[in-house]
Symmetry: none
């Protein structure tokens, strides 16, 4: 089920966590928090946030180590990590980015800037969740208006097919396994047969080809499906 983007806040100071959660939720996003590195890794794994706000100074596991571990696992690799640091030395910035962190902000920062950065990172990873219009080839998907066009003709899609297509359009060309699609489109805890994906792929194809275009969804035997 696609809902509003989820931000994982990792900070050992309760006051910081509360302040950040409050501001994040004020932007229409959802927030969860972790107070140390180990908790952060567990939560990242279980909840799959869309972006992670990571304090550099943490008890137990340091921020940089958490970041490295996140980027080492395929399950969490693609989640953007924004490192929040009190140090402003450039070395740390480079090291942070080299371990795979996606962005970096130094204390003191303004809430406005931080929110802007969170959104900038979200925009890249989950374009549809913040209202952008996706375009791939002759396909155009307006997430906010919940409409899809192909070569200026509007398509009729059911909710599931809509989410399916928007997942494909977020990363054109990438192959998604049936399990990954069930995860993103149906939701983590729903059990449906993985062959159900096939059926919806079929329905989506039918809708996409209704006005004569060719089939834009590629089947990768033994692996899954991809757009283009």
């Amino acid at each position: 089920m696609v809902q509003s983007p989820l931000v994982l806040v990792v900070d050992d100071e309760p006051a910081q966590r509360a302040m950040l959660s409050y501001n994040i939720e004020a932007q229409g996003l959802r927030a969860i928090t972790a107070s140390d590195g180990e908790e952060a890794l567990v939560l990242a794994d279980e909840q799959r946030p869309d972006v992670i706000l990571l304090d550099w100074m943490l008890p137990r596991l340091s921020g940089i180590e958490v970041c490295r571990q996140l980027k080492a696992r395929t399950a969490t690799r693609e989640i953007p990590v924004i490192i929040v640091s009190a140090r402003s030395e450039e070395e740390d910035r480079v090291r942070g980015l080299d371990t795979g962190a996606d962005d970096y902000i130094t204390k003191p920062y303004s809430v406005n800037e931080l929110m802007a950065r969170i959104k900038a990172n979200l925009r890249r990873v989950r374009p549809t969740s913040i209202g952008a219009v996706l375009e791939v080839g002759d396909l155009r998907l307006d997430a906010e208006a919940h409409r899809v066009f192909r070569a200026d003709a509007e398509l009729r899609l059911g909710p599931t097919e809509f989410r399916l297509l928007s997942t494909f359009m977020e990363r054109p060309g990438r192959v998604w396994s049936r399990e990954q699609l069930l995860d993103r489109v149906w939701g983590r805890d729903i059990y449906v047969d993985s062959r159900t994906v096939d059926v919806h792929i079929g329905r989506l194809r039918k809708a996409l080809m209704a006005s004569g275009g060719d089939n834009p969804i590629r089947t990768v035997r033994g692996a899954g499906y991809a757009l283009g």
Copy 2:
């Protein structure tokens, strides 16, 4: 043929342009330059760079205006823009990110940090161009999209041949024994006849040579097979 990622450098000072191009190319990337905003828009449109480095202070069109226009056109919307600014006031940072800029760096900056940021942005937008794509000779294998090209012609491979080829491409030139290949390609605990490898090597060769190229897979009698 996919080539190395392209960076568009927009700066009105010739010395800066030269310095940046030099450093970018030293990282194995390609660079093109523009000296004002209008030229930048034209080049962005024509060349479709993978990332744009945009000076804030420009004659004619300001950096922020260029950014806005880039993000307004679908053709260039998804190209990450890194704003380079002499001002360090926070307001500008927020405004920069709000117009759709993807990252922000203030002068004075270090070349190391700038390069780290360029790479961080490339990693996200063209993940396939910086990590997940293997290139060996005229062969290109995109793991994420599950596609293989030889000299721009796409190859049709079954799952086993695909895994076989990607194993070879991970270490070009290395000789793999049949047992090692069975381990990597088929899996540890599967029993299949080791001669089966021969058959799949044959099928892979056939696919690789389908459009006329020579045989890139070398047989090492008594030892196994190798790519190149």
